[in-house]
Every structure is written in structure tokens, then in C-alpha cells.
């Protein structure tokens, strides 16, 4: 086996991680905005949905790419992972269906049905977010049974929606103005402490639940090499808190900073997670090399990826540029 063939599964693990991170950040703010809907006035709801309307469909496609790479590149692992996560996957899909169709139904159905579709919108967003948190928790604990593993999954099932709520609030700080923007600052402040507590608890619990993670984290010199990840996370969270305490700092030109800081925290958390899990696709059970497809198939996909992913990133950036600035009413025509 050539060294390139040996590297191929690792490249695809990286791509899968990248797609999943893109999904969590991009659809994370969509789901967060969706969950905040019940707290907004009727007019504000329209602006909130308008702020994510042009993006959500493409955002959600990163999930399809992520699970697609799991199916394509790691056929052996996908059987294990998706069979173990069968129920939460189904619940997440139902949540995504509810959220996705509500986007269109809420503006096309009769006016007196609009509140119902708004409720379906937020309920779907919450269901999808909680199911994703649960799946992440089960995945990190390698689908172990027992009270410790289940409570850990429960902890993440609560923390991930909380982080989406914070991300969604920061998105609204960036994309809206006036009273709604002030509200969004309050929402972000509301979610800050629960989120920090959640991240702290997960950071303590992960090495307890997983011996492999414990070994990875607390050995020298890796411990020192890893230190920048938690330290940068703390710095970003601290900066975010300072900004959110004084709303006037984020209402103007620097309205994008809170969102960028939270995205930074997501990236750091993903980096830490990736370091903890590598080279396993299913922790302690399947490595990338055991789970991967044939090098021939992977090469074909890699060519496609090398051409299309830069193009996708390019036109995604273009779409964000077209809809830059504060959200406006969405009109066809």
C-alpha cells in the first residue's frame, strides 16, 4: 500500500470533520434563530426568518455532505454509527423536516395558520438541535451503555442546543438592527453562563468517560502542546462576555464580533474533539484505515472534491456577499 493510499482515509476523515463543523456552525445559527422565534414579536419573527432565509438550504447541505462522506468513505463505520443512532437520527430528521417546510408554509398558508407554522418552525429547530446533541454525546462515548455514558449524552444534548442559541443570538446581533438587535444581545447574555457551564462540565466529563481521551489529554508533552486550545477558548469567551455586558459596544460597526468569537469557540471545540478521537472513526473500535473504502473509490471522489469544494466555498461566499448587511424583507420577483 503506497503512502498516499495510507493517507487517503485520513484525508477523508478530515473532510468529514470539516463538513460536520461547517454544518454545526452554519445550520447551528439557523436552528438557534429558529429556537428564539417564540420570544419575538410577529414583525420580528419575519425579520429573523428573513435573516436566514437565503442561506438555510445550502447550510443544511453540509450535513448531507458529512453523512455522505461517512457513507461513502467509511462504509464499515456507517453501519455501526447509524444503527446505534437509529432513533435520534429519525427524530433529528423529523425536526429538520418540520423546520424546513415551515420556512415556506408560514408565508404561503392562510394568515391564521401562520402562528401554527411558526411554532412548528421552533419546535422542529429544537428537536433537531437536541437530537444532534444526543447523537454527539453517544458518539463520543462510543455508544457505551450505563448511567455515566447516558448522563454524558444528556449533558451534550442540552449543551449543543444552548450553544446554537448563543450562536443564533449573535447572528441576529450581526444581521438585525433596532429593538430586535437589543433583544438579541439580551438573549446572548442569557445563554452565556449556561453554555460556559456546559462546556466546562463536558471538558471535565470527557476524560472521565473515555480512558483514551484521558490518556491523550494528560500526558507530557502533549498536555503543554494542547494547552493553547482551552486557553484560547477561555480568552474568546472572556472577550465575548465583556462585549455582551455593554450592548452599545456591539450594536454598531462591530456587530459581527460576537458571532465571530462564538464561531471561533466552535472551531476550537471541534479541534479539541478531533485531537481526542483521531485516528478512530468509532472510538476504541474502528480506526480510519479499518473503516475506509477502497483507495480506488476514494481517489475518484477526491478528484471530485478537489474540484467542487473550492467552487462550493466560492459561490457560498458569493451568496453571503449578495445578502450582506442587515436583513431586509424577503420578496420574490
Amino acid at each position: 500500500m503506497s503512502s498516499f493510499d495510507h493517507a487517503l482515509p485520513v484525508i477523508f476523515l478530515g473532510l468529514m470533520g470539516f463538513a460536520m463543523l461547517m454544518y454545526v456552525v452554519l445550520d447551528g445559527y439557523d436552528l438557534g434563530v429558529g429556537m428564539w422565534l417564540p420570544r419575538a414579536t410577529t414583525g420580528e419573527k419575519d425579520v429573523m426568518v428573513a435573516s436566514i432565509g437565503p442561506f438555510w438550504d445550502a447550510n443544511q447541505t453540509w450535513l448531507v455532505l458529512g453523512v455522505g462522506i461517512l457513507l461513502i468513505a467509511f462504509p464499515v463505520a456507517q453501519g455501526v454509527v447509524l444503527t446505534a443512532l437509529y432513533l435520534p437520527v429519525a427524530l433529528m430528521l423529523v425536526g429538520l423536516i418540520m423546520r424546513g417546510v415551515a420556512f415556506d408554509f408560514r408565508v404561503k398558508a392562510r394568515d391564521d395558520h401562520k402562528p401554527l407554522w411558526n411554532r412548528i418552525f421552533s419546535a422542529g429547530s429544537a428537536l433537531a438541535a437536541a437530537a444532534q446533541g444526543w447523537m454527539l454525546g453517544r458518539y463520543i462515548t462510543a455508544f457505551d451503555d450505563g448511567a455515566v455514558a447516558w448522563s454524558f449524552a444528556l449533558l451534550i444534548a442540552v449543551t449543543l442546543p444552548a450553544s446554537y442559541l448563543l450562536l443564533g443570538a449573535c447572528w441576529l446581533i450581526m444581521k438585525t438592527e433596532g429593538e430586535l438587535q437589543r433583544k438579541a444581545v439580551r438573549w446572548a447574555r442569557l445563554m452565556f453562563l449556561p453554555l460556559v457551564a456546559g462546556i466546562g462540565a463536558i471538558s471535565l466529563a470527557t476524560p472521565i468517560v473515555s480512558p483514551i481521551v484521558r490518556a491523550r489529554w494528560f500526558t507530557l508533552p502533549e498536555f503543554i502542546a494542547l494547552a493553547p486550545i482551552p486557553l484560547t477558548t477561555l480568552a474568546a469567551l472572556g472577550a465575548l462576555w465583556l462585549l455582551l455586558r455593554r450592548p452599545e459596544r456591539v450594536l454598531g460597526a462591530s456587530c459581527w464580533v460576537p458571532f465571530a468569537l462564538v464561531v471561533g469557540v466552535f472551531i476550537l471545540a471541534a479541534t479539541g474533539l478531533a485531537y481526542s478521537l483521531y485516528p478512530y472513526v468509532v472510538l476504541d473500535r474502528l480506526t480510519v484505515w479499518e473503516a475506509a473504502s477502497s483507495p480506488a473509490a476514494l481517489k475518484v471522489i477526491l478528484i471530485g472534491v478537489a474540484i467542487s469544494v473550492p467552487a462550493i466555498l466560492g459561490y457560498t461566499a458569493y451568496a453571503y456577499w449578495v445578502f450582506r448587511g442587515k436583513a431586509r424583507a424577503l420578496t420574490y420577483g
Partner: protein, 458 residues
């Protein structure tokens, strides 16, 4: 027995999802191109009716697209949750084809959909038109890749099997497998007919209810013209597809024709009750030598029956009936399209098209005829491939998951409730939109941009 129940439940669940899913691509693939046409008509003639038609059908497109997307995401997961053995065994082939679908189609259509729907005030007319074309191109590419995969599963070539795992020897052969051009042509035409009859039916409904607007008659005429030309083309393509199936999947054709025994000069069973227990048809109406004549173009031609494929043939009754529903609906579509087109042609000198009410009622009743024919056609194709997942090479039972049947049953119940509610919601909202007077969109983009934010997110 338990594993059989699990297998059956997994099949019902996947079938429920894929049936629900195909309803919406069947509309959006062609409707996207129809929108390109409507937009071009407006830009070239600057006649308000085309703008109104474009705006109304853009809303229908957005709604249908959203339903297609969410059920498509569900499907991408169900490949793994319901058929883990499929990716383990055929992943080297199915993986890249599905991957290319995501990379070249899903992102493209999803990203430019935002610009197509909401970008009017933000990009130039030229860029907007390009975005619309890219969405249409994306939906068609998506159909291309998924049809390529499905066709390979029906008529697998271009691979070798090593230790039970499929490996590609020629990508060109895999992508353009023997049934692929026929299936792709048949499906794209099915989409154009589904969209055409939707546009015809909704317009006829508006006229019946006295809720017609500027766009109603032009759309009705264009839809009838397209359908009158495309239904006969579809019948020819469908016949070619059938002959291709006879060559590569004779067991499927035997089930379609309820032909239990291999024989010369087989009759065409118009109607009958295929009985699996006695392996014969009850209460039949037959045309002597009909099947032999249609399929081999020789009244004494030899056709293989179900008995030629012991333990490797599909269940006869569902395939037989689905095929008749598809063909029957197709015949009705031909009658409706030609009757309507003939009326339009007769009235070509009149200032205003006035169709008789009985015809309008008939056309309105045919609004979703494309759905019926498309779903029935896919049932013929997919049930007709059983008991195989990959024809002759991988059995469906071998790919099933080890998920407890109770879990599959629970999630199946949830999916079914959601899907039924969504179809009811879709049709009622479509009707509500059809009867709602069109708001004058105004003709200057600047005026629209000035609308206050809180006015609505539509």
C-alpha cells in the same frame, strides 16, 4: 421470521420516504426550467401576465423545493440506517455517484436558490437569470446522478466482485449502464409532464372557481401545448424503456405482464387478478398474442415467464397493477392534453380562451396525474427488481440492517404521520395560493426594495 419482519418494515419505510420524496423533484426538475422560460418570456415581451405567472409559479417552486430537500436529507440518512449492507458491499460504486450528486447538484441548487428567490433587488437581471438557470441545471444534474446509480442497480455493468465487494472496472460503463439513457429520458419527461399537468390543473381550477388572473390563460395554453407534444414522446420513450427492460430484466417484464409460464404467442392481459398461490391469473380480459406482439414484434415470439426465474422473481401482483396504473394514467393524460390542445387551437382567433366547464373540471381533476403515473412507474421499476437490490448480484435481504423491528415500526409510524400531514398541507396551501388574488408586484425593483422590513418575509 423476525428478520423478515424487520426487512419488510425497512422496505416499507424506505418506500414511504422515497415515494414522498419523488413527488417534489418530479415537479421541481421541470418547473425550474419552466421558470427560466417564464422569466425569459417576461424579459423579452415585458407583458405583465408573464411576470405574474413567473411570480406565482416561483412560490409553488419554493414550496415544492423545500419539501423535496427535507425528504431528500431524510433519504440520504436512510441509505445508511436502512441498508447498511448496500454501502458495505456496493459503496465503491454508490458512494462516488451519490457524492457527485451532493457536490455538483445539491450545493449548487441550494445556494443559488436563495439568489433566485430573494436576490432580485440585490443582483442584476443577468446574474439573477444565471442563478435561475443554475438552479434548474442543479436539479437536472441531481436527477442525472441518482438515475445513473439506480440504473446501475437495475442493469449492473462495469464492475467486478472481489470477496463480495463491488469494485469498478469502468466508470463510463457504470454511469452509462444499459438502462440509463432510457430511464433518464423517461424520468425527465415524467417530470415535465408532472409540472405541465400541475400548471394546467391549477389554471383550470382558477377558471372553474372564477379566480383566474392575468396569468391563468397563458399558463394553461402553454401547459396544454407542452403536454400535447410531450405525452406521445413519453409513450414512445416508455416503450423503448420497456424493450430495454425485456432485454436486461426479463423477470420484471414477466411480472408486468403477469406471464407465469414461458410461452410462444403470449396474450396481453389487459385486466386480471394475478394469484401467487396458484401461479395463474383469475378473471382475465386478454388480447390473444398481444404481449408477444408488443414485446417481440412477432405474434409467435417467445417470452420468458415467471417460471423461468425460480426464487429470483418479483412479486407479480404489485408490479402488474402498478404498470396498469401508470399506462392507464398515461392514456388519460394523452386524451386530456389533446382535447385541451384541440380546443385551444379551435379558438385561436378568439380574443379570449373559453374552455367548456366539463373540460376544465376534467383538467383540474388531472392536476396530480403526473404524481400518480410517476410513482406507479417507479413501483414497477423498484418492486420489479426484487428480490435484488443490485439486479442478480446483491439481494435486498443481504443489505438490511440489524435495527430491532420495533424501532423501525415506531419511526415508520412517525414518518407516515408527518408525510400524510405534509401532503394535506401542501395541497391545501396550493389551493389557497391558487385562489388568492395576485398582489401587484409593481414593475420597478426600487419600489419593492423600499418596502419596510416588517411587512412580511415572503
Amino acid at each position: 421470521m423476525e428478520s423478515l419482519d424487520g426487512l419488510l418494515l425497512a422496505r416499507i419505510q424506505f418506500a414511504a420516504n422515497i415515494t414522498f420524496h419523488i413527488l417534489f423533484p418530479a415537479i421541481t426538475i421541470a418547473l425550474a426550467w419552466a421558470l427560466v422560460g417564464l422569466r425569459l418570456a417576461w424579459l423579452r415581451t415585458r407583458r405583465t401576465e408573464w411576470l405574474h405567472a413567473y411570480l406565482f409559479w416561483t412560490k409553488v417552486f419554493a414550496l415544492s423545493f423545500a419539501l423535496g430537500v427535507v425528504s431528500g436529507v431524510t433519504m440520504s440518512f436512510q441509505f445508511g440506517t436502512n441498508w447498511p449492507g448496500f454501502m458495505e458491499r456496493a459503496g465503491n460504486i454508490a458512494g462516488p455517484l451519490l457524492g457527485f450528486e451532493v457536490l455538483t447538484a445539491f450545493f449548487l441548487e441550494a445556494t443559488f436558490l436563495g439568489i433566485m428567490l430573494f436576490g432580485h433587488n440585490r443582483v442584476s437581471e443577468r446574474v439573477h437569470l444565471l442563478a435561475t438557470v443554475l438552479v434548474a441545471f442543479g436539479t437536472t444534474m441531481s436527477a442525472f446522478w441518482i438515475i445513473a446509480l439506480n440504473s446501475w442497480m437495475q442493469t449492473p455493468v462495469g464492475h467486478t466482485v472481489i470477496d463480495g465487494v463491488f469494485h469498478v472496472t469502468s466508470w463510463l460503463d457504470v454511469i452509462f449502464s444499459p438502462s440509463m439513457p432510457y430511464r433518464l429520458g423517461h424520468m425527465l419527461l415524467a417530470s415535465f409532464l408532472t409540472a405541465a399537468f400541475l400548471m394546467i390543473g391549477v389554471s383550470a381550477w382558477q377558471l372553474l372557481r372564477g379566480k383566474d388572473n392575468l396569468a391563468t390563460r397563458p399558463v394553461l395554453k402553454a401547459g396544454l401545448a407542452a403536454a400535447a407534444v410531450l405525452v406521445p414522446v413519453q409513450i414512445v420513450v416508455g416503450d423503448l424503456h420497456g424493450l430495454n427492460t425485456l432485454e436486461h430484466q426479463p423477470a420484471k417484464v414477466a411480472a408486468m405482464e403477469a406471464l407465469w409460464t414461458t410461452q410462444r404467442g403470449a396474450p396481453l392481459v389487459l385486466f386480471g387478478w394475478p394469484d401467487a398461490a396458484t401461479r395463474s391469473n383469475l378473471y382475465t380480459i386478454e388480447i390473444p398474442r398481444g404481449a408477444a406482439w408488443i414485446l417481440t414484434h412477432d405474434p409467435d415470439g417467445l417470452l420468458q415467464g415467471i417460471d423461468a426465474f425460480p426464487d429470483a422473481h418479483p412479486p407479480v401482483a404489485p408490479v402488474f397493477w402498478s404498470f396498469r396504473v401508470m399506462v392507464g394514467t398515461g392514456v388519460l393524460m394523452l386524451c386530456a392534453a389533446w382535447l385541451g390542445a384541440w380546443q385551444v387551437w379551435r379558438q385561436r382567433r378568439r380574443p379570449r380562451l373559453e374552455l367548456p366547464r366539463w373540460l376544465l373540471a376534467g383538467l383540474a381533476a388531472m392536476t396530480f396525474s403526473g404524481w400518480v403515473a410517476t410513482v406507479a412507474g417507479w413501483y414497477v421499476s423498484e418492486i420489479g427488481r426484487q428480490p435484488f437490490l443490485v439486479q442478480g448480484a446483491l439481494r435486498t435481504a443481504e443489505a438490511a440492517s440489524a435495527v430491532p423491528p420495533a424501532q423501525i415500526a415506531q419511526t415508520l409510524a412517525i414518518y407516515l404521520i408527518v408525510y400524510v400531514l405534509l401532503i394535506v398541507a401542501y395541497i391545501s396551501v396550493l389551493r389557497y395560493m391558487a385562489e388568492k388574488p395576485i398582489e401587484d408586484p409593481g414593475t420597478s425593483p426600487a419600489k419593492r426594495g423600499a418596502r419596510p422590513v416588517a411587512a412580511g418575509a415572503e
